[in-house]
């Protein structure tokens, strides 16, 4: 009974990530993905039109008029079930967004389809870090910390060297490391706190102020510079303000020219789909890749080369997905029952 369309619908359950271009609201991205998925689903060949038997009057082939009405049984397609009459089969598909990106930023945006939305919730309840690349420029300060805002002040920057920038970044990192310890809920007088501090596991659970777990400069050519940031609980506005504050610490001013998210949890730029690939076929393939990599990780759960927080994400995600898949099978059975009736 499973037509190619329904089979495809069943496969569309999981997480994938897209590359959100800058200048676009995240909701537009989500809406266009949803539209494309529905278009793809409705374009796949669905079950053929059911035939029904109708008694149709025979067209008169002889000239003499017959005495009575001759009807013949013919099997004709049931027009009431034609898609042009009923409308497209798939009208709704649940597409959810993970951590949002504001209009100025670009980069990895994780989306969940169908039952993948439940995984989204659980995945983001565990501690997940995100990586960003911030492009900055010295010399101006604007009202919204971006290069396209209204200029508030201009200042010189020829005294800035990479060494001074590194010192300021080291100071900011130190303050953030301390914030990590302060926001964790562990009693500092216990041996457990010491063990966790050694492994780098101390940190906030759930909501907290934005904390940078890593900060470094990867390119420096005054007035431009590029920073790589790894953070928790952040907003993009906070990151632009960070660039502004780095300018202030260096006794100058700075604005942010671009923010790009290079990693969100386990999704990297490598896995992100660009605009050309926002079709149902490519998205199905991305979801399949996600499931297979998840199975691969579950099978090879070796104690961390990566920090332990990633394995805890894996474990909860894996458990959740298992539960999800079982739930998904249940709902799909229901779906199949509906379509057949």
């Amino acid at each position: 009974m499973a037509t190619p369309a329904v089979r495809m619908f069943r496969r569309l359950e999981g997480l994938f990530c897209v590359y959100k271009p800058s200048g676009v609201h995240w909701k537009l991205v989500r809406d266009s993905i949803e539209t494309n998925l529905l278009k793809g689903l409705n374009a796949t060949p669905s079950q053929p039109l059911p035939q029904e038997v109708r008694f149709l009057a025979q067209p008169s082939s002889e000239t003499e008029a017959p005495k009575g009405l001759t009807l013949s049984a013919t099997s004709v397609p049931a027009l009431s079930k034609h898609p042009l009459v009923t409308g497209p089969e798939f009208r709704n598909i649940r597409v959810g967004v993970g951590h949002r990106l504001d209009a100025f930023s670009s980069g990895v945006l994780v989306l969940g389809v169908g039952n993948g939305n439940k995984t989204l919730n659980d995945l983001y309840r565990t501690r997940v870090t995100r990586d960003y690349t911030l492009e900055g420029e010295f010399g101006t300060a604007t009202h919204d910390f971006t290069h396209s805002g209204g200029v508030m002040e201009r200042s010189t920057y020829d005294h800035i060297t990479q060494d001074k920038l590194e010192r300021v970044l080291a100071m900011l990192e130190g303050a953030n490391q301390k914030a990590l310890l302060m926001y964790s809920n562990v009693d500092m007088h216990s041996q457990e706190a010491y063990e966790m501090a050694v492994q780098g596991l101390l940190g906030p659970e759930g909501k907290s102020a934005p904390i940078l777990t890593g900060l470094r400069c990867i390119h420096f050519q005054p007035p431009n510079f590029i920073l790589e940031v790894q953070c928790l609980n952040e907003t993009q506005k906070y990151l632009r303000k960070l660039v502004h504050e780095i300018g202030l610490e260096l006794r100058s001013t700075a604005v942010c020219k671009g923010i790009r998210r290079t990693r969100d949890g386990l999704f990297t730029l490598q896995d992100a789909l660009t605009h050309h690939y926002w079709t149902a076929a490519d998205i199905t393939q991305a979801i399949r890749q996600y499931h297979s990599s998840k199975k691969h990780r579950k099978r090879s759960q070796s104690p961390a080369k990566k920090p332990a927080l990633k394995t805890s994400e894996d474990v909860t995600a894996a458990q959740q997905n298992k539960a999800n898949e079982e739930a998904a099978v249940g709902t799909i059975k229901k779906l199949v029952a509906e379509t057949s009736s």
């Binding site: 209204g150 200029v151 201009r154 010491y194 063990e195 050694v198 790894q230 100058s252």
Partner: protein, 451 residues
């Protein structure tokens, strides 16, 4: 944001368009106009050097912090501040290059050739800060000095001598100069000042600042224990004087020595590069990275070579797994060493820095470098300086961060709370820390600004 100097840079001001620097705030994003009129501010020139600052924290009622308003408030509304729990800036007249904390007092010194090169604050009941003339009478000296007051050293050529280092003990202090040798002041009941002991001498209000004689070569480092003094000469020899009941003088006996005598034992023929002491145990690091210790061992500081509670002659301490020792720091009941890779090893008794479960150890225990800020983003962070107070530790990394741990005696850790700290914790000092001096219940940090 208070910037030190604000003046518009002349080459960017176009003729006549002296408008204020605000462009119209429009919601539409438009590209930056590089040639837009408006002043360009220059806050800092290309040749700006970092400013040097001094920060103090801890117990303030002895005056050891050097801030009189903590003890005697400026106006009637304010209350005296007994514990300063976070670093507080101490304004000094000159750039301070060396600082030392004793038991309730501090000495700060500048390496300048001006007449005032040394200031003291805190407890002065044994004239450990020299004679501090009172306002009302020139024959009386203050018992508590509340703000950094100049100490008048009896130098032959005061405008050509620099102070290199200061050290403070329980009730005495030592000052090392570059061409005038070592001066000592304070209590001499055990000969720790390196001069003849006078029976029933009254140390309060004493004018005596003694220039210690008897060194065969120039002294390059001084260290003060509780009631004894150690001197290191440029040839690598160690000399000691003072109280020896725990064998801390290392002279082979448990008696007092009132003049500096060369220390023998395992140190004979060894070139020492650093000495350290603060309580009753003493340590020396040789140039090839070996560690020697003598003195009190009740807290298992020297347990790697002896089960006795004291050693009166230096013994070589075989440390397994420490590598080449570069610096050593000795506290009251605990010991820390730093190796050439920037790793810190601790042992002894007390809060050692590996959680509450490790309260004593007779073998070196390494403190993981992740606690000092080493991570995937910064794999090469290393500790460059290690110091000990009486019951706490301080470590300065190469990035200029200060980490403290140990018993928080009257807020001496500077972490903002009075609880003990069982593993290394960052102290938020505005700037990069260059050096730190640890006392019993207070600390002094020398820092420089980031830019």
């Amino acid at each position: 944001m208070a910037f030190p100097c604000v003046r518009p840079c002349p080459r960017h001001v176009s003729a006549g368009l002296q408008v204020c620097g605000y462009a119209t705030l429009s919601k539409a994003s438009r590209p930056q106009e590089k040639s837009s009129a408006g002043p360009v501010f220059q806050y800092v020139g290309q040749n700006k050097k970092p400013t040097h600052k001094v920060f103090v924290w801890g117990f303030s009622f002895t005056g050891a912090l050097g801030i009189p308003s903590f003890v005697v408030p400026d106006n009637g509304r304010k209350k005296p501040r007994k514990y300063q729990l976070t670093p507080y800036r101490l304004e000094t007249a000159a750039q301070i290059s060396s600082a030392a904390c004793g038991y309730g007092f501090s000495l700060i010194a500048s390496s300048t050739k001006d007449t005032s090169k040394l200031w003291g604050m805190g407890l002065n009941k044994d004239s450990q800060l020299g004679f501090q003339r009172t306002q009302h009478s020139r024959h009386q000296s203050y018992d508590y000095v509340l703000e950094p007051s100049p100490v008048a050293l009896p130098l032959v050529k005061p405008l050509q001598t620099r102070v290199l280092q200061v050290a403070c003990g329980r009730a005495h202090s030592l000052v090392l100069t570059d061409r005038a040798g070592v001066f000592s002041m304070g209590n001499n009941s055990y000969g720790q000042c390196g001069r003849r002991i006078v029976e029933d001498e009254v140390y309060s209000g004493s004018h005596i600042i003694h220039k210690i004689e008897g060194f065969s070569s120039r002294v390059v480092q001084v260290a003060c224990g509780q009631d004894h003094s150690l001197f290191l000469t440029e040839t690598g020899k160690v000399l000691a004087c003072g109280w020896g009941a725990d064998g801390q003088t290392g002279l082979g006996h448990h008696n007092i020595s009132s003049t500096p005598v060369e220390v023998g034992g395992d140190l004979s023929g060894v070139e020492v590069q650093q000495i350290s002491t603060y309580g009753d145990c003493s340590l020396a690091v040789s140039r090839d990275g070996q560690l020697f210790g003598w003195g009190n061992s009740e807290y298992r500081q020297l347990a790697s070579v002896t089960e006795a509670t004291q050693i009166s002659s230096p013994r070589h301490l075989p440390l397994k797994g420490c590598g080449k020792v570069v610096q050593a720091a000795c506290g009251g009941s605990q010991v820390a060493v730093l190796n050439d890779k920037g790793e810190v090893f601790v042992w002894g008794y007390g809060i050692l820095g590996k959680g509450p479960n490790l309260s004593e150890s007779s073998t070196p225990e390494m403190i993981p470098s992740t606690l000092f800020g080493r991570s995937e983003f910064n794999p090469s962070v290393a500790v460059t300086r290690i110091r000990c107070g009486l019951s706490h530790f301080a470590a300065v990394t190469d990035r200029g961060e200060l980490f403290v741990w140990g018993k928080n005696v009257r807020g001496c850790l500077g972490i903002g709370k009075r609880d003990d700290q069982y593993f290394p914790w960052r102290v938020t000092v505005p700037g990069q820390v260059v050096d730190v001096a640890c006392g019993v219940d207070h600390m002094v940090a020398l820092a420089k600004s980031l830019l």
